[in-house]
């Protein structure tokens, strides 16, 4: 509860007001986001959950300046998303690791650093540090195909952490992995979040994953994509995997499920 209070007082990092986004498609306009009001404070771990087409990924992409809202305002670190992107305010982890096969793991992590103009020595130092952070120390000289899917996704998280963005946007990063690997990576991600104190926006469609990781869960529903519920998690920041068997956890999961069901009544 004490943790919840400290995050409450922190400054907003991402602030959206009356955000709308309509895609023009061949079948006519599709409203991907409707009247989104959301404020994410520094150090929060916010999950976006909902069925496909609810706009959770679209919202993350708007934050990242990969999509442009039709109306409404959004600021990232007090700037426009474009300015924030140019200032390299965030690291983005996509659904697929997207590692380059012709680069070693270290080479892949150096890639954004090369683009951002870090010195060679600095690149090496940062690559080493983030590889240790995701428990891939010693794998720097391997090529992507020599690593398992879970390790590849860890490398892609390391790559997003390599430059000092204090926001981490993750779009279903563990969606393609099996349950066991996913559990372990969830645990590691929480530890990473504690150590780095980043603000994390996390898209998922797994209820246990959302509840286990988040300080706040944003439940969304489709057609048009909108927020139906925002749930503050009462769970402590320190979360062993077996917290998922506690009544508090089950209660939050239940509320998320209710929120998802409520969104479906409209169909």
């Amino acid at each position: 509860m004490k943790d919840a209070k400290t995050t409450q007082t922190a400054a907003p990092v991402i602030e959206a007001q009356g955000l709308n986004l309509t895609f023009e498609t061949a079948d006519g306009p599709v409203q991907a986001l409707k009247d989104i009001d959301l404020s994410i404070r520094k150090g929060e771990f916010v999950s976006f959950i909902g069925p496909s087409g609810c706009g959770k990924t679209t919202f993350l992409r708007v934050v990242a300046d990969l999509e442009h809202p039709t109306s409404g305002t959004i600021t990232v670190n007090g700037m426009s998303p474009e300015a924030a992107r140019r200032a390299r305010a965030y690291g983005y982890v996509f659904q697929a690791a997207g590692l380059y096969p012709w680069r070693t793991i270290e080479g892949n992590i150096r890639l954004p650093l090369e683009i951002m103009g870090y010195s060679r020595a600095e690149q090496a130092e940062r690559a080493r540090r983030v590889l240790d952070l995701v428990d891939l120390g010693g794998f720097g000289r391997k090529f992507p195909w020599q690593l398992s899917g879970g390790m590849q996704q860890r490398a892609s998280i390391a790559r997003a952490l390599a430059f000092d963005a204090d926001i981490l946007l993750m779009d279903e990063p563990f969606g393609a992995l099996d349950e066991i690997v996913r559990d372990r990576l969830n645990e590691e991600l929480l530890r990473l979040w504690h150590r780095t104190e980043k603000t994390i926006g996390f898209v998922t469609h797994s209820i246990p994953e959302a509840v286990y990781l988040s300080t706040r869960i944003v439940v969304m529903s489709p057609r048009p994509g909108r927020i139906t519920d925002v749930i503050e998690s009462p769970l402590p920041r320190e979360r062993p995997l077996d917290i998922r068997d506690t009544p508090e956890f089950i209660e939050v999961a239940h509320r998320v499920r209710e929120g998802l069901r409520a969104g479906h009544v409209d169909d």
Binding site: R85, R86, Y92, Q95, G98, W102, I115, F143
Partner: protein
Amino acid sequence: MKNILPVLTVVAAILALWYAATVQLNRGWTEDRAARAGTELSFTELVTDTMSQQRPRLPAPHQVVVELWNSTVVEEFTGRRGWWNTGTLSNRSLIHHGWITLSATFLGFAIGTGLGFVLAIGIVHNRAMDASVMPWAIASQTIPIIALAPMIIVVLNSVGIVGLVPKAIIAAYLSFFPVVVGMVKGLRAPDAIQLDQMKTWNASGWETFLKLRLPTSMPYFFASMKIGIAAALVGTIVGELPVQQGGLGVRLLSGSYYGQTIQIWSALFAAAILAAVLVGVIGLIQRRTLRRMGMAP
């Protein structure tokens, strides 16, 4: 080497068919001559004669092989004008003519590949070029090169460009096309996630090109170069026909002037062997490069 047996079987089948066709196509001349001389031909005599004529309609495979050998190794080592006796290549040897063709092919291939590469970059990065260049590139390939080649030679000749360059330009005309098509596809091969990723890092178009598009396009680049170099060889040979200054094309043409079918076929095979070697060399570089890049199994 499990593949060797099927390959040999196919080769043997082709040879058998070829020999059969040799007998069938050349027997008319043999029978005419026998009829005029009033002699009866046994089957063995007929077959032997069809395979050893001076100017057969279709030379037998071994005649072509012998001619290939004679007009390369034998000519250069024992011929009066050969390399062994004069220190320079004989103008009657396929090595001499092959080299003339090869040098124009290389130059044309280099020009064509460079042009194709530059056009592809333009098409991928520039909206106006994307809309306008490709139809012209396709149109350029619909004109029969055999009709266009003399025009190119004449026009270039009138501005004082003669020798190697006009032939190379005809070769380039044929070889730029597969490179444009392949490289446009290749430079657009990175998937949406990888391009978005570059955007999140605020990478410039140049950095995206250099670090993502170019490496991703390599398999496409090699595939189009394989087609391109074979096309360059064809273009060079076609270009040699009106120029008449040596090359495999000239051997083909003079062979047909004098009814030297064996010479035509051996020049044809020399061209085919050359093409196979060129494509093979690119394939080898492709395998090594892509394996090093982790893009080939």
